[in-house]
Symmetry: C2
């Protein structure tokens, strides 16, 4: 009998196991494939490794203005993939070590949750006083005629290829679609993105999403376009009521992800629109059964799963905690990078919320200009009009992905405009744009 | 008659002018050379532009492991300097625009403050209800025999050279010395640093200073070494009681800076150990005369000067404000980068303060590993043992310089260990190391 049995060793599951083990709980973690889950093995981490390689290649091609001339720069997919495997293997080894260090038992195998709360893996049956479901999500393949074509790939498939394609069509202009579009276009692949909505990156401030799109000059975009069918290497789509088609070597389908619920389909866990229903302490409808991460559909991000895992473990341990969704950052590791946290100006206007907004062009920041010249880049801060509490910080350009964590702390702590005006940011650093945008409020 | 006359158009002076102008004050800014002061024209900004060029060159030489192969990479000092001048000129133009936009009168010329509070520039005499002195600092040249050698340069001189030297001796292992050592060693110059103390970078956590030093593998260090004399291109120094000497093309002297007090030497402004004495509202001993920035010696950083300028202007305008020195970040743009804010472990121990410390190796962070492999890197967080308030955050490695602004907000807002544990940092990003180090406390 375990204190806690956790099903799924992705970001939610392994952090929950680490925290619970550290508290002295007897913990079992069940993973069907490899510790680290999709994020580490087939998602965020390998993508970032390859995107870094692609950025280094872009630098090698494009640094003459800064005083560096390079002859004969070549991108080797084989070497970049080899390094990516090293990164993933090393990090998986790190999680393995963390589990041992925190006395977590790990069972490799496919677990099934039963109605009596027990979990079986093959012939073995495990029981825990509490159960945490962290089974994650899988790419959603929409019912497009012809989607079974051998040219169609998921993000996971594309991370395994051995040779660069000449051309790639990306169906879906969300985070995954755009990161792959950036990656492959940077290393010379002809990339086209087909997006159903009128703009890419729907979670983002509209103006800033447009900036990301227009800065990705090597990528072709078809917005407001609905894919109607696929025939082998050709994607057919409707744009402005007119059918068009595109031929490409590979077709990436990145239109969303669906919860992995098969392993507990007979356990009586309440599901709504495909996702497990949870409260703010990550409780499901069954007593002592919790769910965290992508399977809840609440926020499909690795770092949200981390925090949900902590909330579930604290709740099990009787420590007061609560999942909050108002200060979860996201980051896009494209060129240019983009990131955001909290309320956007668009969302506030839609909800009729009374806000004040400050914006600052990154090219006016001396470090940004020194490193990127007049490239597009913007910081936008949204604050409550009455209280001055910072509700949202949004960035495009430079190392946005590394600034947004500090922004999340500001939003989580509910700091106010006046307080940020008094924070001293180092000069010259890109991080100053947050303070500069705050000064533009009023 | 002006509301405020500001002497010196560096970071302290131009920000004070901008804020005061924005408030509707009638402001005069006097600058003897060029808006932006030392920081923009001869210091932080041009250095960062050149350091970025040097980093791009290092990337070009050293990206094969990540999948980018290059046949030949060359560093052109001429092009890097040309870009640097573009950066400086563009930013100076930006300040010029800001002054106009905020209705600040600018007079170019050398100002002198008189005992009656008036300021003359040549034959013109100006008066302000309040005066802000922001005259900055200059490199200190210590009385070493032979320091008048034509091989001896200040940081300002080195930013103007037209040809890379073959070798460079740096006297002084502080921030300026180390940034130049990193810059020149990265582009193939043989660099030696001579430092009087037992470790470089005295403001830094000792362990982390050692990491910076040992990671700068191309640089030779002589610690605990006192320079005794210079003879043309040869520096003589005592190390462990033994005299040695070093020949090099250039000798950079970077042992500190002294306040520029000449322009108000007869005005009766109180000076202590060479720096103007000010209170927490930046008041000098003379009524309605304020001093900000390097000339006060309180914190010789551009961003400290910014904030001091704001405090002085708020005080003049009757708005309650106060300069605080506990959350001022610093950043070192060397390879590796380093940055810190607040109390170090060493300082806390020296003062007998009761603290808890958490450390996290950057190589355990997946983005860091993906981009830098097993390179050295560390995050250290210092918290009050009783209250859990975060007192210091210190970093070496990766984009430390861009993380420390977010850290400064945490320290300024007096957030606690438990609160940072609940902040969601994006995964995979280097910024996660702050949260991970906080989790290591206890």
């Amino acid at each position: 009998m375990y204190d806690i049995v956790i099903l799924g060793g992705g970001p939610g599951g392994y952090v929950a196991a680490e925290r619970a083990g550290h508290m002295g709980k007897k913990v079992l973690l069940i993973e069907k494939e490899r510790l680290g889950g999709v994020c580490l093995n087939h998602g965020c981490v390998p993508t970032k490794s390859l995107l870094n390689s692609a950025k280094l290649y872009s630098h090698a091609l494009d640094s003459e203005n800064y005083g560096v001339t390079v002859k004969g720069a070549e991108f080797s997919l084989e070497k970049a993939m080899k390094w990516k495997r090293n990164v993933v293997d090393t990090m998986v080894g790190g999680i393995d070590f963390l589990m041992k260090e925190n006395n977590v038992d790990v069972v490799m195998g496919e677990g099934s949750v039963h109605a009596d709360g027990s979990i079986s893996v093959g012939n073995e049956v495990y029981r825990g006083t509490s159960v945490i479901i962290a089974t994650g999500s899988s790419p959603f393949l929409p019912p497009i005629p012809g989607i079974e074509s051998s040219r169609v790939m998921t993000s996971r498939d594309l991370l395994q290829i051995e040779k660069l394609p000449g051309s790639l069509t990306v169906i879906g202009g969300g985070v995954i679609g755009m990161e792959f579009a950036s990656l492959f276009s940077s290393v010379g692949v002809q990339v086209t993105v087909i997006e159903m909505l009128e703009e890419i990156l729907p979670m983002m401030d509209k103006r800033m999403a447009r900036t990301v799109r227009t800065e990705m000059k090597a990528v072709n975009f078809h917005l407001g376009s609905r894919v109607t069918r696929i025939e082998d290497d050709r994607v057919f789509f409707e744009e402005n009521g007119k059918e068009q088609s595109l031929q490409s070597d590979f077709i990436l389908v990145a239109v969303g992800r669906r919860a992995n619920t098969e392993s507990f389909k007979d356990a009586g866990i309440a599901i709504d629109r495909g996702f497990v229903v949870v409260d703010d302490q990550m409780r499901t409808n069954l007593p002592n059964v919790y769910a965290i991460g992508d399977v809840t559909g609440k926020s499909m991000l690795a770092h949200s799963a981390y925090r949900m895992g902590e909330v579930a473990v604290n709740t099990i341990a009787g420590k007061k905690d609560r999942m909050r969704y108002s200060a979860i950052p996201w980051a896009l590791y494209t060129t240019p990078e983009a990131a955001g946290c909290g309320l956007t100006e668009d969302a506030a206007k839609k909800e009729g919320q009374s806000i004040k907004v400050g914006s600052y062009q990154m090219k006016n920041n001396s470090r940004f200009y020194a490193e990127h010249g007049k490239a597009a880049g913007l910081c936008k801060v949204v604050a409550d009009a009455d209280t001055g509490v910072i509700l949202g910080i949004h960035l495009v350009g430079g190392v946005s992905s590394e600034l947004i964590g500090g922004a999340a702390a500001i939003i989580e702590a509910e700091l106010r405009v006046q307080e940020i005006k008094e924070v001293i940011y180092p000069h010259p650093s890109l991080s100053e744009v947050i303070r500069d945008a705050v000064w533009q409020i009023d």
